[in-house]
Amino acid sequence: MKNFTLDNKPKIKPGFTVPENYFATLSEKINDKLPKEAPKVITFYRRKKVWIYSFAAVVVVSLSVLLVQQFNTQPSLDSEFLENYISQNTSVSQDDIIELLEQEDIEKLKVDYNIEEDLIEETLINSSDLEHYLTN
């Protein structure tokens, strides 16, 4: 062979062939080889563990409910009882309380009756009993 050049057209092809339907079945073969995500296996031990945790949770919730009920059933103190108890059993005198109060608080406690003198006199004249109570 003389004066062979690769620039000649048409180009020389490699000359390879493939079996019939090779490319039609190739993707299936490749898909079978692809790594699959392993399914999550739950072992018997793990299942058992779940049951143990569930049971423990039920016990804790039941105990909590019982304790809350126990607290709620204790008798509540009514305010009248409390007031009486304090007034009868306390050693704190009125002076002690005044000492604890600020000047401002004391001012607030003062009640201004604003009663006119004429009205007092008239009331005293009209009710003799009242004069009796006042003088005695």
Binding site: M1, K2, N3, F4, T5, L6, K11, I12, K13, P14, G15, F16, T17, V18, P19, Y22, F23, L26, S27, K29, I30, N31, K33, L34, P35
Partner: protein, 180 residues
């Protein structure tokens, strides 16, 4: 192929991964097969290497940085797989990869999946005598018509060096074809 970034995102998303990968298979199975077959020469070997190549593409897609084109990246994997295969086969037969190439070309005559004429067979013989890199560059340029820029991305060699390799290869092949 559609916008590559969108396609790569589809390949990585668990919901769209399967459909996108089937599309990738359909699109690239023939060109990658031809590329691998040109290196390993035998159909059964090409089939094995191609399947492994696609499995590796699937496995390493998550590491694909997008620095190069998806096309170049896949060709790089296919080239590495094919060359590794040839080297391992040579080692197994206790011979060099160059000697193995010559033996593989000799076997082509009896290969039922090679229907080349005398000139085609002679060209294969001429190629087998080239150094490994020149063989690769010649096959990719002459048979597969891959542009030098793309070849440069695939092989990690400068365009200038690839052109030089190709011209050396052409010269040697033409000498072989004319001289014998």
């Amino acid at each position: 192929m559609q916008d590559e970034k969108v396609f790569i995102a589809e390949l990585l998303h668990p919901k769209t991964q399967n459909t996108a990968f089937q599309k990738l298979l359909r699109e690239y199975q023939r060109p990658l097969y031809n590329h691998i077959r040109n290196i390993v020469l035998n159909h059964d070997d090409a089939d094995d290497v191609l399947q492994n190549t696609f499995v590796k593409i699937f496995q390493y897609l998550k590491d694909f940085k997008g620095d190069s084109k998806l096309f170049s990246w896949m060709y790089r994997i296919a080239t590495n797989e094919a060359i590794t295969f040839i080297n391992q086969k040579a080692k197994k037969h206790n011979t060099t990869s160059e000697a193995l190439q010559t033996k593989l070309v000799d076997n082509l005559k009896a290969d039922s999946y090679f229907d080349g004429n005398e000139i085609q067979l002679k060209l294969q013989k001429a190629i087998a005598l080239l150094p490994e890199k020149q063989q690769l560059v010649f096959k990719m340029k002459y048979f597969e018509e891959i542009k030098y820029e793309e070849m440069s991305e695939i092989l990690g060699t400068s365009v200038g060096a690839l052109k030089a390799s190709y011209h050396h290869a052409v010269k040697k092949i033409e000498d072989f074809m004319n001289g014998n």
